[in-house]
């Protein structure tokens, strides 16, 4: 049943597939960003309580959601890499991790910039913020570990192990911080969830979530192709590729 998938374990095939998919993701990113941000910034009505500052939601929520999605993808790739010994899955982890880390950073920074006018403080040890900060540390640990090994095959395997250890730990961290936080902070829990949003505000948010997903896909594909090229640079198909490129440019 899965035989059609087998050729893609070869780096060359995956490189070409990624190359075919990349333009679509780039186009999707541009369209969704333009429509989503235009709608969200210019046409969505101001919030009753938060005024125009709520417009930060159009990058904050998508970034936070996609940071989690990126890590989940990395965890699945790590599992596949360790169980079926597929090296391409390890390259995937290396490709996605920086994007996930940047998204987490964006979520934290925009959260702080939103929090200052709303809560009066740039930073509070709210359960969600704390969990997000720890997610950033986990991402940085994986990236640092991968870069520390000069043999990239070993690097990929180490990164897979660490990704899986981290994924087990993330729900634990989330719950521990929720309980820690509610014990000390008491009843003030900020509601940032969307169900209570008006449709004119909700649709741009959904478009931006799709937009961030498309961006995640586009940059991950680009970095995935880079990783393949770097690790397979001694192969004849890479040499042929480069010679073609040079011939095409001249």
């Amino acid at each position: 049943m899965w035989k059609w998938l087998h050729p893609y374990a070869k780096p060359e095939r995956s490189y070409q597939l990624a190359g075919k998919l990349l333009p679509w993701f780039v186009v999707a990113t541009i369209i969704t960003f333009v429509v989503g941000l235009g709608w969200g910034l210019l046409f969505a009505p101001a919030d009753y309580q938060q005024g125009d500052s709520f417009r930060i939601i159009y990058i904050h929520v998508p970034a936070a959601m996609m940071a989690m999605a990126a890590y989940s993808t990395m965890a699945i790739a790590a599992f596949i890499a360790l169980v079926w010994q597929i090296r391409l899955a390890e390259m995937n982890i290396a490709a996605i991790a920086p994007v996930g880390a940047v998204f987490t950073f964006i979520a934290l920074v925009t959260g702080a910039a939103w929090g200052k006018p709303m809560w009066g403080a740039w930073w509070v040890w709210d359960a969600r913020l704390t969990s997000e900060l720890i997610l950033l540390f986990v991402y940085l640990g994986i990236i640092a570990l991968y870069n520390a090994f000069s043999d990239k095959v070993l690097a990929g395997r180490a990164a897979s192990i660490l990704t899986l250890v981290g994924v087990i730990n993330l729900p634990i961290i989330h719950y521990s911080v929720v309980w820690w936080n509610t014990l000390h902070q008491g009843a003030t829990i900020m509601k940032l969830d969307k169900p209570s949003m008006a449709p004119e505000m909700l649709w741009p948010l959904i478009i931006m979530i799709v937009g961030f997903a498309a961006f995640l896909g586009a940059v991950s594909l680009l970095r995935f192709r880079n990783e393949i090229l770097a690790r397979e640079s001694h192969r004849p198909w890479v040499s042929a590729l480069v010679t073609d490129k040079l011939g095409g440019e001249k």
Binding site: F43, R55, I56, H60, T110, W114, R223
Partner: protein, 68 residues
């Protein structure tokens, strides 16, 4: 439109500093990420090209050695 004028748009109901700080940092981060990814691609391709041309020169030199 939710805003009367461009001035209103930039002011964001008084929250302009925070909104534009958020959007500014976000786009800065995203652009740096994209630029870094593309630059890496170009660097890898350049390295491979350099290695190939070096190998070709070595081969040429070896062929000439026999003829000298």
């Amino acid at each position: 439109m939710a805003f009367e004028s461009i001035g209103d748009f930039i002011a964001m109901g008084g929250y302009g500093f925070y909104v534009w700080l958020s959007y500014g940092l976000t786009f800065l981060a995203l652009i740096i990420l994209v630029v870094n990814s593309v630059a890496k691609k170009n660097k890898i391709l350049k390295n491979v090209a350099q290695r190939l041309s070096r190998e070709q020169r070595i081969k040429k030199a070896q062929n000439m050695e026999g003829t000298l």
